[in-house]
Every structure is written in structure tokens, then in C-alpha cells.
């Protein structure tokens, strides 16, 4: 159960090596005894992630999860819930890809769509069903500022995140009467392995800064947050910049 001050007792990380997801889990584990389930592709990286959380005091198990095998996703959720209720689920898997390839190479475009959007649904639907029966819990859905308005520099990724964002925003409404809170998180540029080698955009942040925002949002049962919070204002301006000008902006 999530207690009165917002500390969960169990957490499922979909995308078990996500740096943002791990930063969230680590913050919770430092507060309280935490049971963590890492769902991800078996790898040294996944083992290292488990070790990192054990170091922070958590009890960790792993469940194999490949976003590109949607037929297995219901089973992944069943396994993840086998040890009892899950208080917080962080939906953190995703790929950025090479954007020039993404709009010119059909395989790359499809990979982005299958991981970032299709899998978000095929895992999200059984997840929502479990939480509905459970009558409590919280989903943290890592969307992206890139989904807000298509940009020349990353519109394939942006299009998948737009779909992701709409689905989890809708779940916010659908699950609320069932005692489940969904928090859609829209980070800007976060310095993790996903953005390695890219030039940091303005207001870039660390995974831990995003994690702090997430932890506060879950405590206050917020349904939508930007990271950093200032992005909300920036975005509401950008949203209204006329298209002829917007397309010429340097990002």
C-alpha cells in the first residue's frame, strides 16, 4: 500500500534498466523497505540494475520482458503481480533512435512505433486490468515533451510519444473511479544513456532530478507533470507559436 506520506511498499519497473526509472526506485528504496520487480530484457545491465537497488536496501526480483513481443505481455504482468499487490508501476521502456533514419528507414520507424507505442498499449491494457481489480495503486507513465508538438528534429519519436501520452492520459480518467492514479510525466532533455552523445538541450536535467519530481507528484496524486516544472510554461508558449515560425526554431 502507498502510505499517507506517499511511500510505496512495492514497485514494478517496466524497462528494468531505465536510468530515470531506477532513480525513482532508488529514492523510494532509501525511504522505506521496498519490494522491486524489474521487467526487462535479460542482460548484464539488468543484473547491474538489480544490484544497484539491492545496495539501496530493496528486495529485487526480475521478470523477462521484451517490448517487441506483445503476445507475451499479459503473462509478464501476471508474473509481476504474482508476489502480491503492486503500489507503483513505472512505465519507462522506450527508444529514441536515430531520427534521420527513423523517417527514412521503415524498419527503424516500425521499431520505434512498436516499442514506444504498441508495447505501451499491449502491456498497459493488462496492467490497467490488474490495478482495477486491486482497487489502489499508481502508474507513472514516462511520456515526453517531444510528444507535445511535432518538431523537425525528432518527429517520429515524438509521434510515438504523442500516442503514448494520449493513452495514459485517457487511463487517468478511466482508472480514477477504481482508486488508481495515473501520473503522466513529460520530461524534457534528461542526461541518460538514451541521450548519450547528444548535445544537451536547454533546461537539461539528471535522472535524479526527474525522480524527485515523480516522487512528489505521486505523493500529491498529480495526473500530469512536466520535468522540469518550468517546461509547462515554456510548452504552453510553444504550443501557440504559429507553424511558419515554429518550424524554423533551432531544435
Amino acid at each position: 500500500m502507498i502510505d499517507a506520506v506517499g511511500s510505496p511498499q512495492s514497485l514494478l519497473l517496466l524497462g528494468g534498466t531505465s536510468e530515470i526509472g531506477l532513480a525513482v526506485a532508488e529514492r523510494y528504496a532509501r525511504q522505506r523497505p521496498l519490494r522491486v520487480t524489474l521487467a526487462g530484457r535479460p542482460s548484464d545491465r539488468l543484473d547491474a540494475a538489480a544490484a544497484r537497488l539491492r545496495n539501496a536496501g530493496a528486495t529485487v526480483t526480475t521478470v523477462p520482458f521484451d517490448a517487441r513481443q506483445p503476445d507475451t505481455h499479459t503473462e509478464v504482468i501476471e508474473k509481476a503481480f504474482a508476489d502480491g499487490d503492486i503500489d507503483v508501476t513505472v512505465v519507462a521502456f522506450g527508444v529514441l533512435g536515430d531520427q534521420e533514419e527513423a523517417w527514412t528507414n521503415v524498419d527503424v520507424a516500425r521499431e520505434l512505433a512498436e516499442i514506444n507505442y504498441v508495447a505501451a498499449l499491449t502491456i498497459g491494457v493488462p496492467l490497467a486490468e490488474r490495478l482495477r481489480k486491486q482497487g489502489h495503486g499508481s502508474i507513472v507513465a514516462l511520456s515526453s515533451a517531444a510528444g507535445e508538438r511535432a518538431r523537425r528534429s525528432n518527429f517520429v519519436y515524438g509521434s510515438t510519444k504523442a500516442g503514448f501520452d494520449a493513452f495514459y492520459t485517457g487511463l487517468t480518467y478511466a482508472l480514477k473511479p477504481h482508486g488508481v492514479t495515473v501520473t503522466v510525466v513529460r520530461p524534457g532533455f534528461v542526461r541518460t544513456k538514451m541521450t548519450e552523445g547528444l548535445k544537451p538541450a536547454p533546461l537539461s536535467q539528471t535522472a535524479d532530478q526527474v525522480a524527485e519530481i515523480v516522487v512528489n507528484a505521486v505523493r500529491n496524486r498529480r495526473e500530469q507533470v512536466w520535468a522540469p516544472a518550468a517546461f509547462r510554461g515554456v510548452m504552453s508558449v510553444l504550443r501557440h507559436v504559429p507553424r511558419p515560425i515554429f518550424r524554423k526554431l533551432p531544435f
Binding site: 500500500m1 502507498i2 506520506v5 525511504q31 481489480k133 482497487g135 477504481h178 482508486g179
Partner: protein, 448 residues
């Protein structure tokens, strides 16, 4: 009897969850309701005045007991009332006063049900004289997991497992309560305004036994030499002779005015250090030292009722209440806890300190000899850490937390605080082998 999906929270509004809720009107309907329970179990709910999550059951079934609301009979000669468990103490008081009968244990609000009073084995300001609620229960009817109705008396182990058992042994449907006799509905009150914590505690320790009721309110907004300044209020029932002439005509009148209701529009920051300091200053100043003041039910027992739904002032993120009892002899720990709260800068308005008398046989009953302290803390950043520090202090001093107020500690802490919990678990497991009675609190604290 239809089940309706509802989102429920405790009085602190901190951790809502959703359950199917049924409102039975008869004992037979309670028994039928139990059959609706699936693998997510069932729990009884009274008036939802527990602060945390004991009267909710995520994904499962909740039995709203307010439909069982009949008072069966009042025996004025024997001073006994036989009542359904869904009746509130407010209703009981109103019905009993004309007979000169009085409930020996009254909590800080009258809006609690008889079932909730038994489930938490509640206490009042008279604990050092009267003990807790279940000390005055002559018998109760409990519906257990198998659908049987058991009439339990204090000779039964199950009676004491149910007292303070937080609804986890079954559903209390009816109870016989022993009552006190009073000549009037008023109190004769002595008030002492005391400007620091050491003296407040020292004064409270001297002659509590001369009074039926005794409690202190203390200020958490001042530091330095006046840290923990407060108001010690002690009282006995006023006799007919004590009353001024104008009250003598109707001495048993239920005199409990409510003046002002706080609208549900407070922004989260409304209660801040400044407004809290103003409130505490006013509360302190309005209570100069005096003797033999005659006060009505609201003024003496439930002064916060004057503010109606005052919990709204804490804003939409809700609040928690931290209440512990620390054994006598550990006064330094009590003082350190107050210093911790004041230094942490978390504002609280309702801060009470009281001396408990002896506890009873119930393994999970909260009161035991010692100092009990309660503060309300709005949920904001840092409050979790403060409470963890307080937990450590309470554990080190051999104290415990009150489950009716609890909303955030760990299973490990509760097991250490209630060393007889395994004894309770055994009685519980015998009467509910499949574990159908469960609540969010039971899951969170792994009580069963």
C-alpha cells in the same frame, strides 16, 4: 442489497482506495454480505473517523455499518444501553442524557460509531479513571467469517481480540454498554495556563486523580524558554448545585453548539507557520487560569467542534495524526519529541498531551500507563522523515503508536510496539482461518 463502487479514505484523506460498499440494515443482511466477499476480503466501516486506512479495503468489500442504527433499549435502573453497532456516540449521548445517563468514554469527536469505538478500543480524557471503551462493554454480538453470530462477554478471549482488533476478527453488530450517572450535562472545569512544557507536565502529574477528566493542549509554534507552553484543563461533572440558576431549569439539556463551518476551499498553503502561530497564540490567550468554570459539552469536550469541519483547513493533500504513548519514567523522551516537532517547523494545531491510567487485557488495545501525545500534521515534504525520527524515539522509549490514528509506519515497528500481537493473530486465525477480514491497514502493516 446492492454493492456500489466507492472510493474511501480515512479522516486524514491521505490514501484513498476503491471498494464495493454494501449497507446492510439487519444482522441477517450482514451475514449475507459476508458471502459477497471474494479473494480481496471484507472489512466493516463505521463513520470513517479513523485517520488512516483501517476502514477501507482496496478492490474488496466494505460493509458500511451505519445502516444498523437502532437503539434497542435503555435500562435506566441498571444504567445499561443495548444498541446496534452503527449508532453514533452523538446519537447515544442525546438519547441517554434525559435519563441522567452518560457514556464513560468519549473521544475528541462524538461522530464515531459503537463498532468503531470497539474496533479501536477508544479512550477519552477520563482514561486515567475510566479506562477505555471496551472496559464498559458488558457484551457484544460478533458475526464471524463463518456467518455465525457470537455473543461475547469479557470472559471470552475473542472479546479481547475484537477490542482494538480493528475489525479484523469479524463484524460487531450489537453491544451492551454500561453507563455512568450524572446530575447535569455540564462540567466544572479548572484551567491552568502554563508557560513551558516542563511545568505543564509536572503540574499534570501532581493531582490528576482528583479529576475525572484531564488533558493538556500545547503550542508547537514557540521555541526557547516557552517551548511547549500550554493549557491544562481538568474537570468533574458539575452537580445540580454547581450550576448557575439559569441552567438549573434544564440541567440535562444536550448543550453542544456548533458555530462555524470551514468551507472546502482552502489552498494547500493556507495553514502555514504564520496562521498557525496566530491560532496557537489565540488559543493560549483565550484560556487564562481559572477555577470552577461551568462549561457545556462543546466547550469542554469538543472545542474543535466549534470550527465544524476543521480538517478542511489542512488542504487537499490531507494530514496525518501522530499519536503515541510513552511509559512513565521516560519524560525526557516526551520532551525530546516535542522539541523535534517544533524544530522541524511542521505546524500542527491540535496538540494534546494526557496521562493514561492502566491498560486492559486486549492485546492490541493502545492505552497503557504513560504519556500520550497527539499532533496533526498536514502532509507535505519532510513530514515522513519527521515521523520516522519520532518512531525511533518512541521505540527506544518503549512506547507505541495508536492504530486508529496510524497511516505511515512500518510492519516491523508495529510488531515491536505490540509485543502481544502474535497472541492476537492466533485467536484471529482460529476464528477466520481463510483470512477473509482484511483492510488496507492490515495489508500495509501486515497485521494478520
Amino acid at each position: 442489497m446492492d454493492a456500489e463502487l466507492r472510493t474511501l479514505a480515512g479522516w486524514g484523506r491521505t490514501a484513498p482506495s476503491t471498494a464495493r460498499v454494501v449497507v446492510p440494515r439487519t444482522v441477517q443482511e450482514v451475514i449475507e454480505a459476508l458471502r459477497l466477499a471474494d479473494e480481496r476480503g471484507v472489512i466493516a466501516r463505521g463513520l470513517g473517523r479513523a485517520y488512516g486506512d483501517p476502514a477501507q479495503n482496496a478492490g474488496g468489500l466494505v460493509i458500511d455499518m451505519t445502516g444498523l442504527n437502532r437503539i434497542h433499549f435503555i435500562d435506566a435502573d441498571a444504567a445499561i444501553v443495548d444498541t446496534d453497532a452503527g449508532v453514533s456516540l452523538d446519537t447515544l449521548m442525546r438519547r441517554l442524557l434525559p435519563f441522567g445517563l452518560w457514556l464513560p468514554v468519549l473521544p475528541g469527536t462524538r461522530q464515531v460509531s459503537v463498532g468503531g469505538a470497539i474496533g479501536a478500543d477508544i479512550h477519552g480524557k477520563a482514561h486515567h479513571v475510566e479506562g477505555s471503551f471496551c472496559d464498559h462493554v458488558a457484551a457484544m454480538d460478533l458475526v464471524t467469517a463463518d456467518g455465525e453470530v457470537h455473543t461475547l462477554t469479557p470472559d471470552d478471549e475473542l472479546f479481547w481480540a475484537t477490542a482494538g482488533g480493528m475489525g479484523l476478527t469479524g463484524v460487531v453488530v450489537r453491544a451492551k454498554l454500561r453507563l455512568n450517572r450524572v446530575e447535569t450535562a455540564y462540567f466544572k472545569v479548572d484551567v491552568d495556563q502554563i508557560d513551558n512544557l516542563d511545568e505543564l507536565m509536572a503540574r499534570q502529574s501532581v493531582d490528576d486523580d482528583k479529576y475525572l477528566e484531564s488533558v493538556s493542549w500545547f503550542d508547537t509554534t514557540v521555541t526557547g524558554p516557552h517551548l511547549g507552553r500550554g493549557i491544562l484543563t481538568r474537570a468533574n461533572h458539575a452537580t445540580l448545585d454547581d450550576l448557575p440558576r439559569k441552567l438549573r431549569a434544564d440541567p440535562l439539556k444536550f448543550d453542544a453548539p456548533r458555530l462555524l463551518t470551514i468551507p472546502d476551499v482552502f489552498p494547500p498553503g493556507m495553514l502555514n507557520k504564520l496562521t498557525a502561530r496566530m491560532f496557537c497564540e489565540l488559543w493560549y490567550r483565550k484560556s487564562p487560569t481559572r477555577r470552577n468554570a461551568i462549561q457545556n459539552i462543546t466547550m469542554f469536550l469538543h472545542p474543535l467542534d466549534i470550527l465544524g469541519e476543521w480538517n478542511r483547513a489542512y488542504g487537499p493533500h490531507g494530514f496525518l495524526q501522530y499519536q503515541y504513548v510513552i511509559p512513565f519514567g521516560q519524560e525526557e523522551a516526551v520532551k525530546r519529541s516535542v522539541r523535534l516537532m517544533v524544530d522541524a517547523g511542521h505546524v500542527s494545531l491540535l496538540n494534546v498531551l494526557k496521562r493514561f491510567g492502566d491498560g486492559n487485557r486486549a492485546p492490541l488495545s493502545f492505552p497503557r500507563p504513560g504519556w500520550t501525545l497527539a499532533v496533526d500534521l498536514p502532509v507535505r515534504r519532510g513530514v515522513g522523515e519527521l515521523c520516522e525520527e519520532l518512531d525511533e524515539l518512541v521505540l527506544a522509549a518503549g512506547g507505541r503508536l495508536y492504530l486508529a490514528k496510524e497511516s505511515r509506519t512500518t510492519p516491523e515497528a508495529i510488531t515491536r510496539m505490540y509485543p502481544r500481537i502474535d497472541e492476537w493473530r492466533k485467536v484471529r486465525a482460529d476464528v477466520d482461518p481463510k483470512g477473509i477480514f482484511v483492510s488496507d491497514m492490515a495489508r500495509r502493516l501486515r497485521l494478520t
